[in-house]
Every structure is written in C-alpha cells, then in structure tokens.
Amino acid sequence: MRRYHLLVLLFCAAWLAAGCASVVGNGGSPAGPTGPTLFSLTVSPASASVPGATTQQFSTKTSDGSNPALTWSVNGVAGGNATVGTISSTGLFAAPEFPPNRNTITVTAVETTDSTKSGSSSVTLQNPVPLITTVSPLTIPVGAFSLTISGAHFAQGATVFFGSAMLTTTWISSTELTATGTATAGEVGNISITVSNPNPGPVRSGAITAQVRGSNVSVSPATGSVRAGSTQQFVATVTNSTNAGVSWSVNGIPGGDATVGTIVGNGFYTAPPTVPSANNVTVTATSVADNTQSGNSAVSLLNPLPVLTSISPVAFTVGAFSITVDGSGFVNGAVVYFGSTALTTTFVSDTQLTATGTSATSQAGTVAVTVKNPNPGSAVSGALMAQVSVPNPNIKVSVSPSSITLRAGMTQTFTATVAGTTNTAVTWAIKGILGGDTLLGTIDINGNYQAPDNLPSPNPVTVTAISSADPTKSGNAAVSIQNPIPVLTSIAPGTIGTGAFQISLNGTGFVNTSTVSFGGVPLTVYYASPTLITAVGNVSAAGDVTVTVSNPNPGAGTSSGVIVHVTNIGNPVSASSAVRFLEQGSFGPNTESLNQVQSMGFDFYLQNQFASPLTAYRNPTEAYQIYNIESDYFLREIAMGDQLRGRTSLFLNELWVVGADKISDPLGFTNYLRTLDKDAFGNYLDIMKDVTLTPAMGHYLDMVNNDKPAIGQHANENYAREIMQLFTLGLNQLNIDGTPVLDSSGNPVPAYTQDDVMALGLAFTGWTYPTKPGAAQQKHNPEYYGGPMVSSDADHDVEAKTLLGQSIPAGQGAQADLDAALAIIFNHPNVGPFVGKQLILRLVTSNPSPAYVQRVATAFNSGSYTTGTGITYGTGNRGDMQATVAAVLLDAEARRGDSSTTAVATDGKLREPIVMEASIARAFHAQTDAGGFSNAGYRMEQNVFYPPTVFNYFPPVNPIQGSALNGPEFAIYDSVSSIERINFINNAVDGAIGSNTHLDFSPVINAGSPAQMMAWLNTLFLHGTMPDQMNTIILGAVNAVDPTNITGQAKAVIYLVTSSSMYQVQH
C-alpha cells in the first residue's frame, strides 16, 4: 500500500512541473523582456505521462491572445491513430490501451491557417492501470493452488500478487490471467489479490480480497459409546487441504493400546476387552499435512452386553439351589436374576457365572433367568427359562413302545403312561428338545414322531415324555433310525456330453450318505433333499450308462437303474459363450455345466434341456409351512437338472404373480408352482387357461366366488384388469417390436378400456374353489387348493359381452365364456411382443433393441424359431414357449456379449437376488438344506413368494436415475439391498448363509497363486471380462493376507469378485 501512495505522489509532481512549461513557436528563441515581441503558441501540459486507455486534455495559449483554429496531430499524423493514440479537434488525447514500442510521442497543435505557428507537448505513454473484476476461486486451501483472474487492461508480462508475494503468472488475454502459487498456514485469513502491469508505468490494480482457509479436521461420530471388545468406525474429514491424510491416536497414544483400545489407519477402533477405570477416552485424528490440526471424538467405554446361552440345571424343585449360567460378555460384578430375585453370584469368567438362591413354592412353573452387568453401560441379557416344580416322589412315567427301529422319514406314534398322579399330561421331547427338530425328528403333542430325513447323531435317538405335574419326572423310548430304500425315478438331463458333467437324480428315499454309481463308477454326490440329489463326474466314452443310487447301512439298499445317454456330438463354443448362456438360461454356471455347454454347443444343450424330465416339488406334509416350500424352491434352483425349465418357470412366476401373504396354504402354493413348471415349455394359451383356473390365482386376484353381480353391485374387476395389464397385453397397444402404437398426436393408444375391464369381469363370473374329495359342490366351495376351480353356471353372467371389440355371445356357460375371453386376449397382437420382451428382460438384458423384441415376438406369433444353421424349435402354433425361449437365448443380441469385440456397454441386467444366491451356491457345489437363502433374499428385498403386490418385486420398466437406461431390478437396489448383497457374499465366504450350508471353495484354493485364483473366478463369474484395474485392486488386497493362509487368500478373492458390481450385473 505504501508503494502505491508513493507512485501517486510522483505522478502528481511530474504533472505539476509540466504545467509550467511552454513551447516557443517556430524555432524562436526564448522571449526576453527587452527584445521584440515574438508570437508563440504554447501547448499545455508541455509534457505528460498518460496511462493506457485514459485521456489527456491539452490546451493552447497564444502570446497575442488570439484564438486561432488549430489542427492537432500525434507524431505528425493529423488526429493520431490507434497505435500512438488519437486526438480530437479540441485537443482531447486518448492513449492506446497498451503503449507502442517507442512510447514517447509528440502531440502538436498547428494553426490551421498558418502552419508556421505551432506548439507541441512530449507525451510518455504508459501501461494502463489493470482492473480485476473477479478472482476464482475466492477460497483457497493451504497448499498449492491456482487462480483465474478476470478483468481488463492486463498487459503482457503482468504479474499477480498474492498479498506481497508474486505468483507465477500466465497472460491469457488482456482480460484474463492465470496464476499459481502455494499458500502457507501463516497466510490463513483474508488476503489481497492484485495485478501489476510491467513497465512502462508499473501500476498496481485495486485489490480483491480472497480467503485462505486453514485445514480443519473433524471426526465423526463426535461423541459415542462403544462396548468393551466392540468396534467403531470413525471417519475423519479434513477440509481445506489437498492432503486428506490423518493419523489416529487414543488418549494421545498413537494407535492406542490394550488399555484404552486400539485404532488402525482408517479409523477403525477396537475397544479394549475390559473397561478401564477411567472409562472416557478421546479418539483423535491429526492432519498429516498440518499436525497442528486435529479433531476429537469423546468415547465412553461401556461394559459389554451380557448374552446368555445356557443354564444348568434347567429344572428345579422348590428350595435352595445353585445354578451355573454360560454365555458371553459377563463382567465382574454381574448378577444372576431368578425371576426378579437377585442371586448371590460368583464371577467365574467372562463366559460363566455361578449363583445360589432359594426358590419359593410361589415360583412353581416357569421362571426367567437373566444376567445383569453393572455400570457403565449396565444391561440385562435375554432370558432363558427355568422350570420350578413342587417335588412328587410318587410320579413315574413310561413310554410305549420303549424301543423300535424306524426308517428315515417314517412316522411312529408313542404313548406315555403316567402313574402316581391324576395329572397324566406329558410334554414330548427328543434329546431334551421339546417337540424335537428336523435333525432328530419331530414329535407333536400327541406323541406322533416323524423320523428325520437323515440318520441322526447320536443314533438311536431318545424320545422323552415329561410329566407336566413334575417336570423332573420323565420316561424314555429309544428309536433306532435306519436308512430308507432309495427309489430312482428319473435323471436330468437325460443326455450328457463327454467330459465333466453334473446330473440331477429325482426319486425318493435319498439320504445325505447316498452314493451314486455311474456304470459302476462312483460319482461325487451332493444331497439336496430326500427326492433330489446331484452327482458330479467325468465321462470319456459315448454310450448308454446305467445309474443307480445306494444307501449304506443301517438299512442298506440300492435303487433300480436309470439310463443316461452319453454323446460326443456337438458344436463346441467358447467358455465365455457358455458362461453367458448359462447365466441367461440356468441358475448359474459351474465347472460341469460350463463343460457341457462348451462341448455340446447351444442347440444340442437346449434341446436336451427342453427334453429333461421335470424335477417335481415334494408333497407338502402336514407340518409344512410356506417357509418349507421356500427352502424346496432354493434347493431346486441349486440342484434341479432341468435348469432352463426352472428359469422359465421363475419368469412365469414373476409375470403371473401370486403371493404367499394371501396364498398361505402350502398345497395351494405348491400346486401353483407345479402348474407353472408343467406349462413352462408348452403353449402360452395353456398357461393362461391353467393359471386362470388355479384356486391360488382365483383367490389372489378375487376371481374365485365372483358371482354375477346382484342389483347395486358390479362384477369384481381385479383379475379382469390385471390379466390384461400385467399378464398378457400391457397398458398400451404395441407394435410387433414392442414399441407403443402412437395416435396422430404422438400419444400411446390404450390397449383396453374400463368397459373392457368390466366386460371381462362379467365373463369371469361363476367360478368357485375345487370341491374337496368326498364333499358335494356348493355355490361357494370352502377354500381348497387340490385342483382347478370349478364352474357354477347358476352364478355366471350370461349376457352378451364385448371384449376388445369382439363379441362373446349371450347364453354361454362359465367355461365357454372363459375360453372365448381368453382366446380373444391370446390372439391380440400385443401378446407376442409383451411376453417376448418380458422374457428377454428376465433372462438376458434390460435394454433390448426393438428389433430383438420383434424377432422374439415373431417366434411367439409363428410358434417357430429357426436358427441360422437350420435347426427349428417349436410346434408352429402361436404361443409356443420353446420357440420363444430359444429365440430369446439364441438371438444375436443375446450372444453379442460372448465376445469382447461385439459386446455392447449398455447390455446386461442386474442379477435378481434369488438367482444370484443360487448362482453362488451352484458355482461352489453347495451341500445345503437351503436354510438361510430365503432370509437372505428378504434382506436383499426379494422376499421369495412374498412379492409386495401382483406387480412383482420390480416392474418391467424402471428408469435408472442418472442414466437413460432401463433397469427393472434396480427398483429393488437401494442403500439397504446394495449393502445386503455384499453382506450375503460375506456370509457365503464365511460359511454363514445357514448352519447346514457348505460351499466348496477347493477349486479356488487349489488354483495356485492369487493370480491363478483370480483367473478361475474371472472365467466362471465374469466370463473373462475382468478389467486390469480390478485385477490390480484385488491383488493388492489379497497380498495383505498372510501368504501361508491360502484359504484366506481364496476367500478374499471370492469376496471381492462376487461382491463387485462387475459380477452383480450380468453383462
């Protein structure tokens, strides 16, 4: 600032001095007081310094006081020019914005009528005063920065000043400069940005104030409590610094220690196993760039939550007792409660307490036992129940029969005899578990025992009847379980190619120790259920092979044989092609199915799939809940040999939706799924007819008991609307390529009207539940699901109806009207493109081209699909599903992703969770009871059998935010489910999907180096498309695993590949 003032002063002084000068006209000598009076013309100021783009007014004075007309020139040029400046007829000089190389010029005034009379002034042209209008950014972090300065009058060579510091400046134009520099912590605060032009006339611009922001560290959460031994992720946010790095400490100790807890590089804090005496600690993050900056979090360490896992004994008689409780998270000072009574408690360890007390007669019955930890963070465990009874030494319990042999899966009724009391009631337990469980067998309140599907351990099992009068008294029976005799009914697929193969065996009496003989060669067997096992092997020679199943002792037996045809014909395809084909047409590839498709080629594989025997659902037993069918469903996905039927059936199930929230009858739901299986490779019209008459759909969408309307009512519209909107036509009229037909205004044309809905509702009147065997049909049969709905013509509306512009004549019965209505709908031109596009969406891609849809719709309409090599699928009847499925899977657009040279970046689809789960299980040859799969699907927002509404888990059209693409499955991909997908993978890797699920990671573990492990996964999960960067990222993480821990390395690779979006999106 001081320098600026000085310049101004100097400038003023020069100007004042110039004001006194005068110029003598025409070479005359200086005037003297005594000489002759000479004429002179004086120009004022006589000399001047003029900054660029400013003006200077010159004036003249004549010695004789005359006021002649004058001509002004600059460097002899009348009026001047742009280079040297211009001057007006009144002497107003305008300096050029930037001075010329020779910056001293002469301004001359000449009398217009007498050119000998003139005067002049010497003018020094200077650079203009620079002007800043904007500086960007105005907020500058500590550290390296760059600025853009906008304004005017920036001369080449101009310099940007940052406070007093000169910045490295680049001249862009007279209105823009850029500059770079480094801000120090000492400069934090407001700072002036100025620009100085170079000589001549180095004048500084006015200042614009910018702000240097110091870095600031904050830690989130700012306060918190962590229980002993638990963890907390802290996040440090460093603002205003280009270096976001922090170092972590606890109570000032870098990385913490065992007393106050430890914290690692990314803020992951692990509380100490026990709470220190001072239970408040401070977690600090310190900026790496500026260690004067730090942020804190105040953490209170709390005692852990006590968890109770068992108590011993469980049954007490009234009086003094001692009890041992086991669990975790116990701390010294914990108290055992017996009901509301605090017991005298001894701390044994953090997993065990012992306590003594006295129970009263008033406590007879069930008493809750809990453990309470002391402060800080005092908390009470969950409760376990103890039985308190008044002793009765006379009671004796016996069970009949006392010892039997029973085959797995069979049932036996036991009888209990209670002596010594009038209260002969008993409760039944297996090995101490009330009601038993699926591993030991179950027993109901009447003593009906159902042996488990597999041999229990220990075997024989003990069935116990416990006296209700005195639970300390009981009687036992021993049940020795034998294996069942296996029955093999079919094998899918019935034809296999040579090399590695997997077959699925359908039958009954299979156990988890069953063996499979493949022409005398034992196969590796994976047990799914008593009716379904899979077996894996390798075959080199073509021919027919007899396959049998054997069960070992106790109760050993062997099934009769079923023939499998082995062939070595085929049209081989690449591994990449085979993997993609199996992602689209099965529940995911494994090594064996990959080999089968590779060696047989698409067509032969497809033909075999269409011909494969159907894997049937088990008949629901009395104890079945929907949950059991869910497990059966996942077992089938994982193990069924007719995989393509399974995928097609799932497609149908997600189009013709029913939900177990309303169809809670296990037989009803099973029969519904069976209907879809049966028709999956048939004709769409049969699907329409069969599904319409399932009592499950009838109940779900209220067609059942939809009588002709009474006066003041209208026919139920629910099924009528949704069969058209959701199952067959869609809302708008479609072209054969699936695009909407547009009217003259460019708007879509509705496919049907409200009047059509109401007419169809009337056509669908007069149906009720099937009649139970042995019962007589009623107007409204009671809810029952053992067959198709039955008609009741008396309740059918017989008026004539108009549907979609076609007539249904008056006087027809319920069946005739239904057939007529479904035929009208089936023959509507929408059905082919509507169904075809949905099948593409479910199997292949979320964004098919109209041409692809048209090719599939054409196959649907003609009932026939012929490949480029002349192989024809389908019967030639409209609605043929085999032709439609083949058209979807074999289309060039489905196959173009097989090769990186033809792949398209927008192809593919987000895998739906329940298929993703099965794919992981199949790839790693899951040995599983499928427990846990259903819950995992629920957490990933696909609660199998419980879609929220008839609109399925996700809609066919779902624009992805921030993208022009459609993504139906993205409708159930949000903050919750995206994380849960990754957590499902975590469970899969950790063996935590369910207690009876084992995945075999040995192919990865045995692959060799981490790079070879990744190659194995790249082939099977990413069809060879893993980007180099992904490879590098994963290798980095795997290299952090102890190199001797091969399993750990394999699990890290599996986790990172399969949890990535590269896998979650099938592409």
Binding site: S220, P221, T223, S225, Q232, F234, V235, T262, V264, N266, F268, T270, A298, S300, D702, N706, P709, Q713, H714, N716, E717, N718, R721, L731, N747, P748, Q754, V757, T765, A905, T906, G908, L910, P948, T949, P959, Q961, A971, I972, D974, S975, V976, S978, I979, R981, I982, N986, N987, P1027, M1030, I1033, I1034, A1040, V1041, L1056, S1061, M1062, Q1064, V1065, H1067
Partner: protein, 452 residues
C-alpha cells in the same frame, strides 16, 4: 404446550454461564445434542403412501342427513353404521366423520386441532368436468392402473415416463438454501426405492425400520482393512459398463452414508413414545429417531417416505379396512406424540398419499374396485387443522361427480395443488413451483391454505 417450556430451558441453558457449565457437564452422551438441536429452522415432510388405493369413501363419511343417506344407499351392505362413525367437530359443525377405528385421529382433529382432511383430491391435468371426462379431454393417462397412478401421485407427471418424483424435485430446489453443508441426503426412505424420493440431482438414502445398512465382516486386521479398501475401490473404478456404473453409484453412496447415519444414530436416546409393532408404526418410529439426530446430519430440511400396503381391497373389505384404518390412526398418532417429545411438532408435517380411492358401489365379493379422486389426511403442528378442505363429492352413483356409474369421483382438487401447498410451506419459492408441478398453472390457486 410442553414444547414452550422446553425452548425456555434451551434459551436459559445456552445463553448463561450456568447453562454453559450444565451443558459441559452433560455433553458426554447425546443428551446435550438432543437439547441443543435448534428447532427454529427445521422442517420435515413425512409421506405415508397407502399402497393399493385406500377406500377413502369409508375413511371420511358424511354424517349430515342427506350426505349419509346418499352414502348408505350406494354403499349398501358395505356402509358403515351412522352411529359408529366418529364425528369431526369443527366449531358447531360436524358434517363428516372418520372410520370408527380412528379415534386417535378424531381426537387430533377435534381437540389438538392438528389434523386436516383434504376432500376429493386426485390426479388432474386441468379442472375437469364430467363432460370433459367422457370426451377424454386432457386426462391423466392410465387412470385406474395401480402402477401408473402410484407413479403419477409420486411424480406429479401425469403422462409419459416418470423420471423424478415431486419430493425429489422439492429437495433439489431447497438443498442449497437449507442443507448446503450437509453430507447426508435430504430424503430418507424407510421403505425402499420410490420415485417420490428421486430428484434430478437428489438421490435418497434408504434404511429399514430396524437397522441402518452397513458392511459386515470387517475387523481391524491389516488383511481385513485391505479388503475393505479394495471393496470401496471396486465401487468407484470405471469399468465402462453402464449398468455396472449405475450399481456402483448406489452401493458406493450406501457405504458412505451408512457410516454417517450409523454414527449419528449410535447414541440417540430411545423415544419414550410407544409405537405399535406394525410395519407402518415402526417406519415412523425410525423417522422420529432420525429427526432426533438432524443436527448431527446437518440437515435443516428433510423429507421422509413411509408406506403401508394392503389397501387393494377387492374382496372382504370391511374387516381388512378395520385393521388398515386402525393402524393408520394409531401410527400417525404415535408419530405425532414422538414429534412432541422431540419438540418438533410444529416443524414436522405428515401427510397421506394413495394412488386412488375405490368405487362407492360394492363389487361382487364384498370388495370395491379402482376409482379416482380420494380424501387425504394432513397432520402436524403447522397444519391449520380441524377443517375439511376441498369440495366433498356428492355420493350418488352416476351423479354429478361420478366418472361413470360405479362411484369413481372426478377429483375437484388437483394433486399438484395439494403437493404445492406442502412444498410452499417447506420453503419452495412460488417461482419454482411450476417446474416441479407442471400442471399447477392450470388451476386457480397454488395454495389450498391448510398450512399455517
């Protein structure tokens, strides 16, 4: 009244030395943060979407002689008895009543006066007469279709493909002014994705009523930490595949915001207000818990999305509707009490949406079918309650308000007006309303006046 004394306490404790000492003493765990959170410039909108199409005809019933007679004649065997309907008392008038299983909301309307009813509101492109309907003049597309009407109610886009929701666009427009420094999204859905929550730039965070999403299976070992970092890197690297990128965006934000929210919620004090175990109640309980940590999230404006299902009552409606109305009443009431407990009752406005009402005429199996104009509920301390807004339809089949012969009411108030009234209260400028509600300018007023 209790929230007045609460504010007094805050003023005293924050502005005096004694108060500062007290704050310091309490500052360890959460208590102070709950108290220190200013309520002066905080507003929340809480949407309860009734999926399936609520039968508003049996939620709000006329009880004057002519109105009830019309209702009873058309509703026939599905009419609720007049003496069981809960009267809504406005001054000396009681022309309407609530479903018999909604006593909590009756009390909010009559006593606290914090509940309003908006009658016969629906999707409308322009004011629509019966003649215009029958001539298909400028109607919303695909009336009576669940999916289309749900999307339209959530987006206020009545034709074409809906790409963003009106709440999302509302959040877009107020984000800079009210939530500028926040690192957490302004919209939280407790019920998964919904177009309602999606703006042109706003993307919602979602959570369940029971937990905050977070990655499992990591510990402090170097190998685990390396895997954690690799997981995050894999969510950000560019694969070049469109859908992979889209999935990465969702999952990457989920990881980031999940940590933020879990941290904020870790020490939140449980509410003493009791909620039922119903899914709706538990969603609203979670909303209240998140409102409790609004300061930690740095949010001055928040929008929440909750929902209830099961309203598509095509058969056996009466017993189902009893449960639905009872749950709605209890859940909304609990939530209102929770906002009182948190001192934000005047800052939080809760409102219902539903894709359509149902035919006044019963269908064949004691149910009703898809209709159009519906009644909605608005609740909160800032609501000018104790009033029925809009124009109640004439409950006559084929009467002046019927689109056909079955009692499908042509709406007399537009969704755009309803939503714009809420948006204005929330802070959206009049200039921005037409960009969010494209049909708003076709109606005589932007503001229905039910917000204070």
């Amino acid at each position: 009244m209790t929230h007045h004394s609460r504010r007094d306490f805050m003023r005293l404790s924050c502005c005096s030395a004694a108060g500062a000492a007290l704050v310091g003493g309490l500052s360890k765990f959460g208590l102070v943060s709950a108290l220190a959170q200013g309520t002066t410039d905080y507003k929340a909108l809480v949407c309860i979407f009734l999926f399936g199409g609520n039968d508003a005809n049996n939620m709000v019933i006329p009880i004057d002689a002519q109105g009830y007679a019309n209702y009873q004649k058309a509703r026939a065997n599905m009419a609720l008895p007049q003496n069981q309907v809960l009267p809504l008392q406005s001054g000396s008038q009681a022309n309407f009543g609530l479903h018999p299983n909604m006593p909590e909301l009756q009390s909010l309307f009559n006593n606290q006066k914090n509940l309003a009813v908006l009658a016969n509101v629906g999707t409308l492109v322009q004011p629509t007469t019966q003649a215009q309907y029958k001539a298909y003049t400028n109607l919303p597309v695909n009336l009576y279709s669940h999916s289309d009407q749900q999307d339209q109610w959530q987006s206020a886009q009545l034709s074409g493909a809906q790409t963003a929701g009106w709440a999302g666009k509302v959040a877009d427009s107020i984000q800079a002014a009210y939530n500028g420094s926040s690192q957490f999204p302004p919209i939280l859905s407790i019920n998964g994705n919904a177009i309602f929550c999606t703006g042109n730039t706003t993307r919602p965070f979602t959570m369940t009523p029971y937990s905050t999403p977070g990655l499992a299976g990591f510990d402090s070992s170097a190998a685990s930490q390396a895997r954690f970092q690799a997981t995050q890197q894999l969510l950000t690297f560019d694969s070049g595949l469109s859908l992979v990128q889209s999935a990465n965006t969702v999952a990457g934000e989920a990881v980031q915001y999940g940590v933020t929210l879990a941290s904020a919620l870790q020490n939140v004090s449980p509410l003493s207000t009791q909620f039922s175990n119903s899914y709706l109640s538990q969603q609203l309980r979670q909303v209240a818990q998140v409102i409790a940590v609004r300061s930690a999230l740095g949010l001055g404006r928040q929008i929440f999305f909750c929902s209830a299902g099961g309203f598509d009552t095509h058969s056996d409606q009466l017993p189902q509707h009893v449960k639905l109305m009872s749950d709605l009443s209890q859940s909304m009431n609990s939530f209102y009490e929770a906002t009182q407990e948190l001192g934000v009752a005047n800052n939080v406005t809760t409102f219902t949406l539903s894709e359509f009402s149902r035919t006044l005429q019963p269908g064949t199996n004691a149910g009703t079918d898809h209709a159009w104009g519906s009644h909605q509920l608005i609740q909160g301390g800032a609501v000018k309650g104790n009033a029925v807004y809009g124009t109640f339809p004439t409950l006559v089949l084929a009467g002046p308000d019927d689109a056909g012969n079955n009692g499908r009411w042509i709406p007399t108030t537009a969704l755009d007006q309803y939503a714009a009234t809420l948006a204005s209260w929330f802070g959206v400028s009049n200039a921005n309303l037409p960009t969010i509600f494209p049909n708003l300018s076709n109606f005589s007023t932007n503001n229905l006046g039910f917000m204070g």
